[in-house]
């Protein structure tokens, strides 16, 4: 389903994102394309190095946060809500330009402490089931949890189309649903903890090719 673009429902969001890319918005009345030009060249490989360090904020930001920063700072538009169709569509369109590009997160020394924070969160037991991410996704990734195979937790295809969701979703949504799964209180969307986890997972996947928009069960 993923390999054939006309069968991959994630591609519907990429198409929507392509339309949004050239749509003027905000007080500045600017489209993404007015600054970034043709995404096919300007956005190639970008998502493979996100979350990336933002100098002004002095912390790493995820791709959807970067899109919203662009909206507020340059387009003078309101930020798009987390998991909204437009934000997912733009993220998918941008990340799709990196399909096949090996992930290069982790090469910037400035993000090192945040990767360490993410690794600490990944290995920290949490929730009523008292499980850490690592207990399933490092120690048991070749086994099954009930009928479902346990994955290595690779972040290569986000935002991705989950058949269960029947829509596209972000890595943060996936992480939050895992946390709910171990009966833990999920971190808020955009929280430093989720960005740190995302950063750790991307650095852990260093060298693997991007595949946005992936399709998963």
């Amino acid at each position: 389903m993923q390999d054939d673009d006309t069968s991959n429902p994630g591609m519907l969001f990429v198409l929507d994102g392509e339309a949004l890319w050239t749509k003027k918005t905000g007080v500045a009345d600017k489209a993404c394309a007015d600054c970034h030009g043709d995404a096919r060249s300007s956005m190639k490989g970008i998502a493979a190095r996100y979350p990336a360090f933002d100098k002004a904020l002095a912390r790493p930001v995820a791709l959807d946060q970067r899109i919203n920063l662009c909206r507020t700072n340059h387009q003078q538009a309101t930020p798009l809500p987390h998991e909204s169709r437009d934000l997912l569509a733009l993220s998918a369109f941008v990340a799709h330009q990196s399909r096949g590009t090996p992930i290069s997160v982790g090469e910037d020394p400035q993000v090192k402490p945040f990767i360490d924070r993410g690794r600490a969160l990944f290995t920290q037991r949490q929730g009523q089931l008292n499980l850490a991410c690592t207990n399933c996704h490092d120690d048991n990734f070749d086994k099954r949890l009930a009928g479902a195979p346990i994955t290595q937790g690779q972040p290569t295809g986000y935002p991705l189309y989950r058949l269960e969701w029947q829509t596209l979703g972000s890595l943060e949504r996936r992480l939050r649903s895992c946390m709910t799964g171990v009966r833990a209180q999920a971190y808020d969307y955009g929280s430093p903890e989720l960005v740190a986890l995302e950063l750790y997972l991307m650095s852990r996947a260093h060298g693997l090719p991007m595949e946005t928009p992936a399709v998963r069960p």
Binding site: A146, G147, A148, L163, W165, S177, T180
Partner: protein, 155 residues
Amino acid sequence: MPTTRRRFLSLAGSVTAAGTIPIVTLRPVEATPAMLTAAIRNVVGEAQLRTGKVKLDIPPLVENGNTVPMTVSVASPMTADDHVKSIHIFNEKNPQPNIGNFYLGPSSGRAQVSTRIRLADTQKVVAIARLSDDTFWQTAADVVVTLAACTEEMN
């Protein structure tokens, strides 16, 4: 009545149970095998329903019933004299017994349709084909729907 500890716990238990309802898909009504039969009769009428000719490709076990790929095909030469007029897909336990009706003709060339369907529970899926001579042919497949180990809270 004084709220004893036992009574409090039973209340708390029922509140917790109610609170978890939004997580699972709510089904105010569930199609029954009788509804399935009625839906099929609606299409077939009093005609005899024969087994064969129709092939239903659907995974026997899915982790989640929200998007189940399905292909139905009918052995037919698809000529002007001998072709499939329509294919009807039904389920046994969704809130509604119909899934889809597909109308074909000799210009289809091949009697085969694929789509992605929703199955609320482990159940039987039935495919019925109406041929150009107005005979009806059916097949059925059982699909086991397990829930994903990690369910997500609905917003």
